[in-house]
């Protein structure tokens, strides 16, 4: 990873139009074979947070049980990694030649982490605090995180496992996958899919232009859920015992379900149609201009009945 990105970044230094390839999680294992060029441990106290700024390479952060931050960096000899406490922020950055740095960082599980990069793969696991990760070209993989979890990539995939709290995930060109998330969730893509599994969200908003959407999870009684896509399909799988009202809008699409929904009246192209499951306490808004909407019983393969015909 290091050699690859170093070469690519060297090219970038003279010709910005020649870009690195997608940053991926390929270098962590190979990188361990090499002694870190930087290896520094700094004691920290509760209330401090970590801020990592990287140009290219990868940033892998793991939670541990010590009140200290260990930064290991693998980089060229012309690059210098700086670990600088400034007030409550422990800032990690690189200077010198514009090159790739592969970081492995251990942080206390309570420590909020912020990572910003350009051609950077980001991975954070084992922390129980705020995580903010943003990159242009690179995947983001977060395991855990609480209170506020933000992950944004332009060209990479975003994968979150078990985030809790206020979750904000987006990718412009790739998909967003969240498994086991709980709390308030906002997801956005343009061309990528949205896959939400084993969710326990109270409020959820998912939007895409061309992406398919899938939600599988519980329904909080007063929850509000909104799914909107232009050309994608929407699949929502919830327990049959859930209580929810569904407002469905499609223009060229259709609606299929195997849930025992109650409906009122005839539904037509481009018009709002409302269905109720149970007493209808949670609110679902499902909108797809041209895609199919499926409302499914969670864990059931029972065939679907078509409720909304194309006009």
């Amino acid at each position: 990873m290091l050699l690859m990105t170093a070469a690519l970044v060297a090219a970038l230094g003279t010709a910005p139009a020649q870009a690195p390839v997608q940053a991926q999680s390929s270098g962590a294992e190979a990188g361990k074979l090499r002694t870190p060029d930087t290896d520094e441990t700094v004691n920290v106290t509760k209330g401090m947070r970590l801020s990592v700024s990287a140009f290219a390479g990868e940033v892998i952060v793991r939670g541990w049980a010590r009140d200290a931050v260990r930064v290991q960096g693998r980089h060229s000899t012309r690059t210098r990694v700086t670990i600088k406490p400034t007030g409550p922020v422990l800032a990690v950055s690189a200077s010198g030649s514009p090159g790739s740095v592969d970081y492995e960082i251990n942080v206390p599980a309570w420590m909020p982490v912020k990572i910003e990069g350009t051609y950077v793969y980001i991975s954070v696991e084992g922390t129980q605090a705020d995580i903010a990760a943003e990159t242009v070209r690179g995947d983001i993989v977060l395991k855990g995180g609480a209170t506020t979890v933000t992950a944004k990539s332009v060209e990479g995939e975003v994968i979150l496992d078990g985030p809790r709290g206020k979750i904000n995930a987006s990718s412009v060109n790739q998909g967003v996958t969240i498994t086991g998330g709980s709390g308030d969730v906002a997801v956005e893509t343009v061309n990528g899919h949205v896959s939400l599994s084993n969710m326990e969200s109270t409020n959820l908003e998912a939007a895409s232009i061309n992406g398919n959407m899938k939600y599988d999870g519980t329904v909080a009684p007063s929850g509000q859920f909104r799914f909107s896509t232009h050309n994608g399909n929407i699949v929502v799988a919830i327990p049959e015992s859930a209580s929810a009202a569904f407002t469905v809008r499609t223009y060229n699409g259709s609606l299929n379900t195997n849930l025992p929904l109650k409906t009122a009246g005839e539904i037509r192209r481009g018009q709002r149609a409302t269905y109720t499951l149970g007493s209808g306490s949670a609110d679902f808004e499902l909108e797809s201009f041209g895609g199919t909407i499926q409302l499914r019983k969670r864990g059931s393969d029972q065939p679907l009945q078509r409720l909304k015909d194309k006009d």
Binding site: P16, A17, T118, V172, V190, I209, R249, G265, E266, Q271
Partner: protein, 222 residues
């Protein structure tokens, strides 16, 4: 047979062809014997037709003081308020839309006081002048898109080719969605879903453009 009030409430749904066969039959039977509802239906049809022909227009005056003075304190709620489900007739929705557009005009005027960075023209006029509907949507959107696109084009050399390609490809995807929505709206101008969806999709284009220009700025700082 439902009461006059209930059937009158259904006129907008009748007009939008949203009632099932039984519902339509009830309304039509009532219309045959109720002149008041016939008049309301004609008025509704005229409003919908008018809504379909509205064009964008800049506000002619400062409207906010007039709006402010007319906002009445909230009425005391009936005891059954919490248990009611609400539906709005087409005139109510259009009145609300007009009020929103007027309020937007007022907010733009207020925003104009915020500094030289605001892009909207100053709005001037007499408080007592008659209220006219205003729609800032297209003009403001087009201007913002043009500005951001210009910034992005100027910074094109500072982003790598693949990133530019991906951003442009995604902007095109949004443009296609906007175009399809506009096409659908041309055939069904009063469709609430399409109008809302168009506004939302345009907002997403602006957000992506803003993000793209932020990337240009970041690249410049490196």
């Amino acid at each position: 047979m439902p009461t006059h009030d209930v059937l009158n409430e259904r006129l907008s749904e009748y007009l939008d062809n949203e009632l099932d066969a039984a519902g339509r039959a009830e309304v039509e039977a009532h219309l045959a014997e109720c002149g008041e509802c016939r008049a309301d239906l004609e008025a509704l049809a005229a409003v919908v037709a008018r809504a379909g022909t509205l064009t964008d227009a800049a506000p002619a005056q400062d409207l906010w003081p007039g709006i402010d003075s007319r906002i009445a304190p909230p009425k005391v709620l009936r005891p059954t308020f919490a248990n009611r489900r609400f539906a709005f007739t087409m005139p109510q929705l259009i009145a609300a839309s007009l009020a929103l557009m007027i309020a937007s005009g007022g907010m733009v005027w207020l925003a104009r006081l915020g500094g030289a960075r605001t892009d909207f023209p100053a709005v001037q006029g007499e408080m007592s002048s008659p209220v006219r509907p205003a729609n800032f949507g297209d003009a403001a959107f087009d201007q913002a898109v043009a500005d951001l696109q210009q910034t992005l084009d100027a910074g094109r050399g500072r982003l790598d080719a693949q990133t530019i390609r991906i951003l442009e490809s995604n902007l095109e995807a949004i443009d296609r969605a906007i175009a399809q929505c506009r096409e659908a709206l041309a055939a069904d101008p009063a469709n609430v879903y399409l109008n809302t969806y168009l506004a939302e999709t345009r907002r997403r284009k602006l957000e992506l453009l803003r993000r793209a220009t932020a990337l240009v700025d970041q690249s410049s700082a490196m």
